[in-house]
Amino acid sequence: MNDPPDRNVLDALHQRLLLGDRLASEELSRLLLTRLIEEVGRRFPTTDNQIVSDGVIDAVLDYCGDPEQFNADRGVPLDRFLATAAWRNVDNLVIGERRRKQRERKVGSKKREADVALDPPARKIRQEEEDELNRRCAAMFDALTDPKDKEILRLKLEGVRDTAAFAKVLKITHLPVAKQQEEVKRHKDRIIRFLRRKGLLP
């Protein structure tokens, strides 16, 4: 692993951020992101790399946007402060992800029995179910004429939950975040209502 960052360098970057330096955030990102992702990743060895990097990146961006949240007088080096914030972020993301998977499992268990895959006739039934599912997905895509609606449906079927991904498709990233969330929800609901009317969704 690389040597830990020089405390004087970090202190200088903190001072620059406090004074309103516009370039200090990118310098700090270059200096710390990779190192912190490696470090936090070791603490969460079974966690998806993307979740770890999101947690670390959010900690660094949060700090750069509000550097006064770090008090250098407390004696804690900046990189330790950011590592702690990143651990907390990743912890929260992991808990959220775990809850989401639990919900999915709960819903999934109602639909099919667990040993289906081991039973050849059941496997055939399962294959037929999957074929049917693929047919229904294709029918849903065919029913939508607007490429943006198709893209939103694709993201939704892939389980994407990040508003930013949908906002990019809708080209509304210039709107405030709350408005983006509102617009994304409105579009998703509209598409679902339309597919229900067509009898393609229950």
């Binding site: 309103g20 990118e26 990779t34 946007g65 930013a164 210039h174």
Partner: protein
């Protein structure tokens, strides 16, 4: 290999900064949207290399109270023509001001509908508003 990973991480960080108004990433993303430009065309317009683009996105947005100084710092840091960069940021500032005005129910909207309280005149009893 390592530098590839670092570049990926910077790109990912820049992508996450696009939802944060305090970062240049958001300014550039909005500008791309309203001008119908691709990232590559905006990059070319500003004369920034692919490698430097996420770095520019991770810079903090110029403050209104130190606009010229901040724009100059960013422009010098990336070899961008200052006027071009300033025009982009000013454009986005204007778009955001218009958007804020267009939001119904925002703070201050109700003030226009409020009845103004009459000031008491010193030494005189308060007059009834029914008079």
């Amino acid at each position: 290999m390592k530098s590839d990973t670092e570049a990926d991480i910077l790109r990912r960080a820049a992508a996450r900064a696009r939802t944060r108004p305090e970062f240049m990433a958001r300014v550039l993303a909005i500008y791309q949207d309203i001008e119908g430009m691709t990232e590559a065309s905006l990059r070319e317009h500003l004369g920034v290399t692919v490698a430097d683009w996420p770095r520019l996105e991770l810079c903090l947005r110029p403050r209104a109270e130190a606009f010229l100084k901040d724009v100059t710092q960013i422009a010098q840091g990336f070899g961008i023509e200052r006027g071009t960069l300033a025009a982009i940021i000013r454009r986005i500032d204007a778009v955001e001001i218009v958007q804020r005005r267009e939001q119904p129910g925002r703070a201050g909207t109700l003030l226009a509908a409020r009845t103004r309280k009459r000031k008491r005149r010193p030494g005189r009893p308060e007059e009834s508003s029914d008079e």
